[in-house]
């Protein structure tokens, strides 16, 4: 019976911290399961003045119907206060409502948050107002956006027949087509103008610098592809990451690349 009731503690796979789940530690904890039952045939009352324990129970009095298994009850969301910056979740001092299990394993166990009890709310209210605290990023979601931008090749589609010069709005619509929404003033083109149509530039990349929230700067690869309105004049579609692409301006790219490498781990 005890073997059934005691089971090993659930491995803390959410936290991702190996220190938190040593493989040899086997803590047995009682499983807190409550089942609400109901007698199918109720026991009738004893006569007045009689001892209830003297009542003889029949076999049918031990037949139960399940009313509710409390283990599968939907758990309420948990409110926590962040004590540190958590990427993708929030800043220090933010009050966040999350699923119980996720909040416990992701935030409470690693010590990134505390329960939002009235005492804790009062205790950690100063976190937001601290002047000397500077968060790592301008917003908790910036890190993820930067990763996405670094890993992508934005296809800049330009016409094969009409002369053009790449302007910020060309890059903006290319980003929009790729599903990234950027204001035009956040895009910084390379200093050297890129003009075409020029078949030598086909399937070569240049780097633009995207400034997120006016603070974080990310170099993003933009690949030039020529497109013709006439079907017979069309070029074959660009292969996705089959071969390493060549830069449009070898010199400038190496400079920006070295800069980028110092700041971020750029995707090759």
């Amino acid at each position: 019976m005890w073997r059934q009731i005691l089971r090993p503690v659930i491995p803390m796979r959410f936290s991702g911290n190996p220190l938190l789940c040593p493989s040899e530690l086997k803590v047995h904890q009682q499983v807190r399961t409550t089942f609400i039952l109901k007698r199918r045939w109720p026991v009738f009352l004893v006569k007045k003045g009689r001892d209830p324990s003297s009542k003889k129970m029949r076999a049918r009095h031990y037949v139960y119907d399940l009313v509710e298994d409390t283990d599968v009850r939907i758990k309420k969301d948990l409110e926590v206060i962040l004590t540190d910056f958590v990427a993708g979740v929030g800043n220090r001092g933010d009050r966040i409502t999350m699923k119980q299990s996720a909040a416990y394993h992701k935030l409470l166990l690693p010590g990134l948050a505390v329960y939002a009890s009235p005492e804790n709310i009062e205790k950690f209210s100063h976190l937001k107002d601290e002047v000397d605290y500077k968060p790592k990023y301008s917003s908790p979601f910036v890190e993820k956006t930067m990763k996405i931008l670094q890993n992508m090749n934005v296809m800049v589609l330009m016409n094969k027949d009409v002369p053009w010069k790449i302007e910020p709005w060309h890059v903006r619509i290319s980003f929009r087509k790729a599903g990234i929404h950027i204001p035009e003033d956040a895009i910084l083109l390379p200093e050297e103008p890129i003009c075409g149509p020029n078949m030598e530039m086909e399937n070569k990349f240049f780097e633009v610098t995207v400034t997120i929230n006016n603070t974080e700067k990310v170099p993003v690869k933009c690949v030039i592809h020529h497109w013709s309105t006439h079907v017979s004049n069309k070029l074959p579609p660009v292969d996705e990451d089959d071969q390493p692409r060549m830069p449009v301006f070898p010199v400038t790219v190496s400079e920006t690349g070295s800069q980028a490498n110092s700041d971020f781990s750029t995707a090759s």
Binding site: S138, S139, F141, V142, K144, T145, I148, L149, L157, M158, N159, D161, V162, P163, W164, W169, H170, I173, R176, K177, G179, I180, H181, I182, P183, A186, V210, I212, N213, N214, W227, T229
Partner: protein
């Protein structure tokens, strides 16, 4: 019982021996003794089993079961009827590769981004956040940018609208059918395939105006004769429009026209011939299609104009189409139009457009309220009637 068996074995021996020619008296008398013993034992046996068995039946009973009393009438027939014929179906061989076939994967065609967070930064990916909702003018402007001469170089590309519909009907588990309609638009544009219209009207003025509106062939009784003789094929025309004064003559070719016969419901019969003709010639035709698996998912993909048209003209066309679609809504709670996107091929972009201002959602609510009021009134009148009757009974 053992004794009985023993006797029977001996009797069999005797029968086999009797075939041989040299039979001794001794043996015969032994066999007689055995026979008598057997009869006695069989009687005893019969009594022991609680059944009455006559000695005469005993000799034959070894080979064939015979009853000396009649079976109950209809028993055999009853038994025969009771026997259910079980047909053994031979299972066809199914190759192993085809066994336990997986159900087709359901593709969620209706994408709901309401659970996704609102973007907070100025740079964000639409994969992780809610889609931006553009105003109509902004969306058109975005498409004009992508169709700029330096990019796609097709500034006169068709602008399409993709409307997603919730096809649930009034009753649960019932869905609307596919429907095709033609809307007259305030600013017609060139369509790829001109629709051919045959017009029947008597007065010369109307005939002239119908021709001006874009009718293919216009005429009166002489056309009917041509149709009957086969000179004019009805298959060359998509629509047949008629003035009501031509109806008596048209009845003679009703069988030839079949579904194309002008009627008011489809809008092909009316007094205002030029208006009808222009609607069928230059109006926007759209079909609401229904998904084969997700019966509640319907969509419309139709052109509303060209990108080089004036934005306000495009907007008016768009508004006319949306209003017409919205007029097909079932009388139930919840949205009918769930999403509206502007698309301009060859660009793969789909821009979500705010459509709420073009359809009068309040109109629907008002109608519902009126219905409620009617119901209340009815119930009130019922109540008063009941009171009256009860009063009469009391009186």
């Amino acid at each position: 019982m053992v004794e009985h068996l023993h006797c029977r074995a001996l009797a069999l021996m005797c029968q086999s021996n009797s075939v041989s020619a040299d039979q001794t008296d001794h043996r015969r008398c032994v066999s007689v003794v055995i026979m008598t013993g057997r009869i006695i034992s069989s009687i005893c046996c019969g009594i022991r089993n609680g059944k009455f068995v006559t000695p005469l039946s005993v000799g034959v009973s070894e080979l064939l079961q015979v009853r000396n009393y009649a079976a109950r009438k209809g028993t055999r027939e009853k038994a025969r009827k009771k026997k259910v014929k079980v047909e053994v179906k031979k299972a066809e061989f199914v190759p192993h590769s085809l066994r336990r076939k997986k159900a087709a994967v359901r593709v969620a065609k209706r994408i709901d981004d309401s659970m996704k967070p609102d973007p907070l930064d100025n740079v964000w990916s639409s994969r992780h956040y809610k889609w931006p909702v553009y105003s109509f003018a902004d969306a058109v402007q975005c498409h004009r940018e992508t169709h700029h001469p330096t990019v796609y170089n097709s500034p006169d590309a068709d602008l399409y609208v993709n409307v997603e519909l919730d096809m649930r009907a009034v009753k649960a588990n019932r869905y609307l059918d596919e429907f095709t309609r033609i809307v007259s638009v305030p600013h017609p544009f060139r369509t790829d395939s001109p629709r051919s219209v045959l017009v029947f009207c008597k007065s010369a003025d109307l005939q002239r105006s119908a021709m001006e509106a874009g009718a293919t062939v216009v005429g009166a009784t002489e056309l009917i004769k041509n149709i009957q003789s086969g000179e004019l094929s009805l298959q060359d025309f998509r629509f047949v429009v008629a003035h009501p004064d031509m109806l008596p003559e048209l009845l003679s070719v009703r069988g030839l026209m079949k579904r194309k016969f002008p009627n008011q419901k489809s809008g092909t019969l009316g007094v205002d011939i030029p208006d009808i003709v222009s609607r069928f010639c230059s109006g926007i035709e759209y079909t609401a299609r229904v998904d084969t698996t997700l019966k509640d998912f319907g969509w419309i993909f139709t052109s509303v104009g060209k990108l080089d048209m004036d934005t306000s003209h495009l907007e008016e066309n768009f508004s006319a189409v949306l209003k017409d679609v919205y007029s097909m809504r079932p009388n139930r709670e919840g949205q009918f139009i769930t999403k509206c996107c502007l698309v301009a091929p060859p660009s793969p972009e789909r821009l979500k457009v705010d459509y709420s201002q073009y359809i009068d959602e309040d109109d629907n609510k008002r109608a519902e309220e009126e219905e409620h009021d009617d119901e209340e009134e009815e119930s009130e009148t019922e109540k008063s009637e009941l009171e009256k009757t009860s009063a009469a009974v009391v009186g």
